[in-house]
């Protein structure tokens, strides 16, 4: 019998107008079960993955991928920068190293406004103020802000005294740094920052960039061990260490990963229940068509034909369910992203919109798994159909 005719037989067995209502209901429910299981898994992965990616993207948007610092919080200077630059130039994939000075300050904008903010000096283009801070200070590009710092130190006849500095600057642009925390900070040129904090030559950390395609974790390990060797061999006073920037938030990503695994297990169990349901549906459909199989065998359907019809029924139900689940999850992710964005409290979650990213790898794995299990649960009805003689099947009412 041609494969397409076997398919047609299997299809009519699981779904046709002449089927009993029970068969159609059982088929529909098992398709729906598999679809829900697959969709739940894919949608979960889409949004948990989307959340993790968005946070990672936000964190790396204004921070270079590699972070070089002095463990314990000690400061660095331009000399240290030079040392790191020369060491990094020997490491493939690292494209450049720059210094940063980052300190808290008091900022005021429109009359009556004042706020504490992190001020970061780096190789930026002019002065960019985070959008939340801009709103708080009621300023836009072109407005003036005042930055006050009490960190300045002056040595005078009275000894070391703290000196207030107040600097007036013009805002060049208002920026969205992706993460709530950064939107309450401002970024300006390194030289300006050093003037504000009276910290000539000083740096709080260094950042290194990598070329596209370079794994930041690998690059940071290479740089870190090179820095260590240099420190041990050169007898420098400061010991510098390098980690990938995201490793700062390693615990966050670990927690997110753990949560994702836990939820995946729960939803995978839903899928398993759906597949058990599918298995009982197949048994039921096999019972309803026991006599028909006897008739087909009387007409000369071979044992392998009987086996294949049973397997195809399983593939039809599972395949339809899986495809429906994939389609549904794809459409929902698209619709949520475009028309019903999930709003988050940015102060809690760092990002204000939860993005869904269709997880291709997960979707393929889930679908493959579903189809394999459908095949497996189809084998029992198939074998039991063959264990009966055609005569026995024909007498079955």
């Amino acid at each position: 019998m041609k494969q397409k005719h076997l398919w047609a037989l299997a299809r009519r067995h699981v779904w046709s107008d002449s089927n009993s209502t029970v068969v159609r209901m059982v088929s529909a429910l098992s398709i729906a079960g598999v679809a829900i299981g697959v969709a739940a898994l894919v949608i979960l992965q889409a949004f948990m993955g989307g959340f993790t990616e968005a946070i990672a993207a936000g964190l790396t948007a204004i921070n270079p991928p590699l972070h070089i610092y002095v463990p314990g919080g000690g400061h660095m200077d331009d000399f240290d920068l030079g040392v790191v630059q020369s060491i990094a130039s020997g490491i493939p994939g690292i494209t450049g190293v720059e210094g940063m000075l980052e300190k808290p300050a008091v900022v005021s904008g429109a009359p009556g406004t004042v706020s504490g903010a992190m001020v970061r000096g780096c190789s930026s283009v002019g002065l960019t103020i985070g959008m939340d801070l801009a709103r708080e200070l009621n300023v836009t590009a072109g407005d003036e802000i005042r930055i006050a710092s009490t960190a300045g130190v002056e040595v005078s006849g009275m000894g070391r005294v703290l000196v207030d500095t107040i600097v007036v600057l013009v805002v060049d642009s208002v920026g969205d740094f992706g993460i709530e925390e950064y939107n309450s900070s401002l970024v300006l040129l390194l030289g300006t920052a050093r003037d504000i904090f009276r910290a000539q030559g000083e740096l709080t950390s260094l950042g290194a960039d990598v070329s596209t395609g370079t794994d930041p974790v690998m690059a940071s390990e290479l740089l870190n061990s090179a820095l260590y060797e240099d420190y041990v061999g050169g007898g420098w006073p400061v010991y510098m260490s390098c980690i990938p920037y995201l490793a700062f938030h390693g615990n966050l990503f670990k927690a997110l990963g753990l949560e994702r695994i836990a939820m995946t297990i729960v939803l995978a169990l839903i899928t398993v229940v759906a597949l058990l349901n599918l298995s009982s549906a197949l048994t039921m459909i096999a019972m309803e068509h026991r006599r028909d199989i006897g008739v087909l065998r009387a007409m000369g359907l071979s044992p392998s034909g009987v086996f294949r019809i049973s397997i195809l029924r399983g593939l039809l139900l599972g395949g339809t369910g899986g495809a429906a689940g994939l389609l549904f999850s794809w459409i929902s992710i698209l619709a949520v992203n475009r028309y019903f964005p999930i709003k988050l409290d940015g102060t809690v979650y760092w990002i204000d919109v939860l993005p869904g990213v269709f997880p291709v790898a997960t979707a393929l794995t889930v679908t493959l798994f579903t189809i394999l299990v459908c095949l497996a649960v189809s084998v029992f009805p198939a074998v039991s159909a063959l264990s009966r003689s055609p005569s026995e099947a024909l007498r079955y009412e």
Binding site: D17, D292, V295, A298, S302, G305, S389, P390, S391
Partner: protein, 228 residues
Amino acid sequence: MSKEIVLSAQNVYCSYGSDDVSIKVLKGADIAIRIGEVVAVMGPSGSGKSTLLHALGLLERPEKGKVFICGEDGWAMNGRKRAELRNRKIGFVFQFHHLLEEFTLKENVMMPCLIAGESSEEAAGKAERLLERVGIIHRASHFPSRVSGGERQRAAIARAIVMKPDIVLADEPTGNLDTVTSAEIEKLIMELAEEGRRSFLLATHSEDLASAVHRKVFLSSGILNESE
């Protein structure tokens, strides 16, 4: 063995149940049917007519004995070969039409051809010609549940002969029909046997049907006799 014999069985034993409580239904049945011959197996209900037809039609393996279809030992081959033999040489008509409910009458008649691996077009052509012949072409696209008992049995007969089998086994083909329809079906069977020089083995306890056949055999105490 004579070439004229399309079906023969020797010393067939069949029983149901386990060893301790077994019902012996056939106890050494013998039969031989020639080309074009229409034979009726007579016997009261429960005498084992269906059991005999299933054993002869290679649907249930007898405990003992041999069944030859066109000279081939039907139970001495593997399942695939036996299925092929059923497909090409044997046609079945059941008491309860046993049409496939999810398929139209035409699709039901096409089914043996599709099982043989023919294309849909080829099978559809044959099915239409046969539905025309048995007088229900106007019901071709109807489902079995939407047509009368007589029409169903006509479709079942068309399905049984669509592969031009050498022997058609019919288990009480008129058992579930009213007398008028029964008479029509009987007439159709006799005509089809005549036209195709096709052999029929009919299980029946209807004297009307039996009166028209070429030869009668009687099943009693698990054995076939030429007279009552």
